[in-house]
Amino acid sequence: MTSHTYDAIIIGGGHNGLINAAYLARAGKKVIVLERRPIVGGAAVTEEIFPGFRFTEFSYVVSLLRPEIIRELELPKHGLKILPLPSTFTPMENGDYIAAWDDHDKTRREIYRHSPKDADAYDDYARLMVRMAMAVKPLLSLIPPDLASLSPRDLVGLLKTGLYAASLSEKDLYAVAKLVTQSSGDLLDDWFETDALKGTKSASGIIGTFLGPRSPGTAYVLLHHYMGEIDGAFRAWGFAKNGSGGVTASIASAARALGVEIRTDAPVKQVIVKNGRAVGVALENGDEFHASVVVSAADPKRTFLQFVEPKYFPDEFITQIRNFRVRGSSGKLNLALSELPNFTALPGEGELHRGAVSISPSIDYIERAFDDAKYGQVSRRPYIDIIIPSMIDPEMAPPGQHVMSCFVQYVPYDVEGGWDESKKEAFAENVIATLEQYAPNIRRAIIGKQIITPVDIERIAGITGGNIFHGELLLHQLFFLRPAPQWADFRTPLPGYYLAASGAHPGGGIMGAAGKLSAQEILKDGLR
């Protein structure tokens, strides 16, 4: 048994853990990150599953990575490059398609082709969403104030503290408040009539949730999609060079340059508590590390129900964490392809292959996909969000061949009868059969596949329940309620113990906000 002493120990080398470590090291602290896997990154990793084919295994687009983190940690100097993902292409069941291209006029004409009315509405809708994103986005870099309850009025008060509050009218702010409680389906029905347009837009409202587009609260998640857009030229939105693992690699490099020690293959078994304070951790192999503070950058269930004995937490807190919803509902199918999918709606290789392809022909289609999941089944015809990383970054696959990332919903964690190989194959088959309907050559193009269910997310990335955001982005799990009321400021009922990952405010996604904000709070508490 060996023993080491640090200022801070970070459990988990996901991007939040690494960012937290980097900020603490930047403040002169001696920091170690302990990661259970042989590689860092958590849900932001790139792995060569088949020789020459590099999969952005879980997360696949960067959408919310905080510009101030990119700047302060000098991530571009450490190799971060965010490449444009300029379009979204939605093939339709009738053989046509609808697309949003990288040009305003071109997109307008495309929508006009389907509905002149929707083409007009498109601009107004986009403007409203940007204004609302301006209202909400500053909250991502704020510690949420501790409010006793959430009513729309409180929310308006909260938003008024934001950065752009001066430029937003009361009407805008109430629109945000309404959005928070609406379903994405209702919101979109107010604006548009084209099914495939509504389907595609509603999809961003259900990502990572166990809800359908008709469930209340999904409109807010949809807003998250717009947050990246207000960065303008800064563009924190796109596909990272080398996939999500490329983001992690740049953060790890920045952290190391700041003096952070990163140890992989180092699974933490338990947090060591002395005199009611977290003072270190013990690894599975018995090695011990001691520090002034212990930061968990793993999910809330592990953090509070596994690493620490429950007796150190109030009962009520434990109950809240137990009730924290982490049901995984998404899966992935990562494919190695010998050729590009050829879409019957727009044949040949083209612009569409460099953007996103969305299988979301209508709101009803997605709601039906959800119906399957409600009763423990994988969606027979799922929602699929596709990108082809090798078309954006030529280094992702051997020349002339491709990798394709398919994000799939709904894939329930608690599939009826439990997951086994045949169920996994059946899930992959649903996806391939669905794709085949739009791109008939897909089946013969497949030369390798990696099937990822929520159980695999839990097993590989170490996220309890396999929810992609460490806990759904539901209204009762956001802001000052995340992960539990009164404990949204990264502190925990156990002194010296902090939460720094996606299960904390402001939530999941490759954003880094939880990692950075928690470091600030730790330093405020006077870490020695």
Partner: protein, 395 residues
């Protein structure tokens, strides 16, 4: 009508916006797609193919060829080895820059010079009494520039001979699609890159072969807009934007010496007599009044200017080729001549002329910007150029 380049039959078909600019009397693409973003990223992450045929090109041959060029440019041509290329400015007798370009030594007594402006008259004036022939081959010779980290693998796929041994600023004879070409490891992007020189009549098969070989590596034809962002990141000057050619200047203050353009490294005062030498020796002794430097805008300060009016930062993705005053306190101490958002660095950067003593690296200055129709001052710092230099550029 302006002239079209030998690649026009290809480039005109893919220019989606039919966006053409002018370059030395030729049509040249501003961009090929609806936005220049992918073209820019091709430079930094894959490979971008530029039609640079409008460059002025001169063939200089004869026993006195080296002597002539040595008299004109500020670098030492006599010392060049065969197969070497140099980038160099050249000056008038007052030591003010007339133009900048490259000189390639193709043989003991054979050189090729490229320039932005016509230089035939200047070359002939300087050749008086020398045994040398000067031919303007601008229209006979087509040129492509393949720039980006994948440039070498793409060329290796389609060229007769491997490019692996070709060093930075060296050239080789080669063939692509059975067309004889000269390939030099040069460019205007600060990335790994090559320029390919060929007879205009044989141009199209070379374009086709490069596009085919580059397909699997994300090759993208690219225009002036993308190039303009990359060259600012690389700290490379552009004539008539960052400086006025001395023989086009109407007043003295419009002229610049190579020192004032940050090209002091390309001035060899040790070599024999050359145009402008005396003036440059004197300037070197006294120190220059102006310097051409990089400015890095403090993004937090820039963002604040926008937040004051309730907006997120609104920055054009295009390089601004307009003069922006530079201040120290309330006194103007210079001006930025090119400024741009750098997508790879995620920084707002500018190339600026700054007066003594404010051009020292690390000096804090203010850059005038317009935010919602109002003049504002963004904090900026004098920094070293290039702003961006990938490790593979010279490797």
């Amino acid at each position: 009508m302006l002239r079209t380049t030998p690649f026009h039959p290809r480039t005109s078909l893919i220019n989606q916006l039919q966006n053409w600019r002018r370059w030395s009397g030729y049509y040249t693409a501003g961009l090929y797609e609806m936005s220049h973003e992918r073209e820019y990223w091709a430079i930094r992450n894959a490979a971008a193919l530029f039609d640079v045929s409008p460059l002025m090109k001169y063939l200089i041959e004869g026993p006195d060829a080296a002597r002539l060029l040595d008299r004109i440019v500020t670098r030492d041509v006599q010392k060049m080895s065969i197969g070497q290329v140099i980038y160099t400015p050249w000056c008038n007798a007052e030591g003010k820059v007339l133009d900048d370009g490259t000189v390639s030594r193709l043989g003991e007594t054979t050189f090729r010079m490229t320039s932005a402006d016509p230089n035939l008259r200047w070359l002939n004036l300087n050749a008086a009494g020398m045994d040398v022939s000067i031919t303007d081959i601008s229209d006979q010779m087509a040129a492509l520039s393949l720039q980006g980290p994948k440039a070498r693998v793409i060329l290796n796929r389609c060229a007769a001979k491997s490019l692996d041994g070709l060093k930075y600023f060296r050239l080789m004879e080669n063939a692509i699609a059975e067309v004889p070409v000269t390939i030099s490891r040069t460019g205007y992007t600060g990335d790994l890159g090559y320029e390919i020189w060929m007879e205009a009549a044989n141009a199209l098969p070379v374009w086709d072969a490069l596009m085919a070989a580059g397909h699997d590596y994300g090759i993208a034809p690219a225009g002036i807009l993308a190039l303009d962002v990359a060259r600012v990141e690389a700290g490379l000057i552009l004539i008539e934007t960052d400086y006025t050619a001395a023989h086009h200047a109407l007043i003295e203050s419009q002229k610049s010496s190579p020192f004032e353009l940050g090209l002091g490294w390309a001035v060899n005062l040790e070599k024999g007599p050359f145009n402008g030498k005396q003036a440059l020796v004197a300037e070197k002794a006294h120190g220059s009044e102006w310097m051409f430097v990089g400015l890095e805008v403090d993004w937090v300060g820039m963002e604040r200017l926008f937040h004051e009016v309730g907006l997120p930062p609104q920055i054009s993705p295009l390089t601004l080729r307009a003069s922006l005053p530079v201040f120290k306190g309330s006194a103007q101490v210079g001006y930025a001549s090119s400024s741009t958002w750098s997508p790879v660095l995620k920084k707002y950067i500018a190339l600026a002329h700054v007066q003594k003593p404010y051009f020292e690296i690390g000096t804090d200055v203010l850059l005038e910007v317009t935010v919602e129709h109002q003049r504002k001052y963004a904090p900026a710092k004098v920094v070293k150029t290039p702003f961006y230099e990938p490790e593979w550029k010279k490797k």
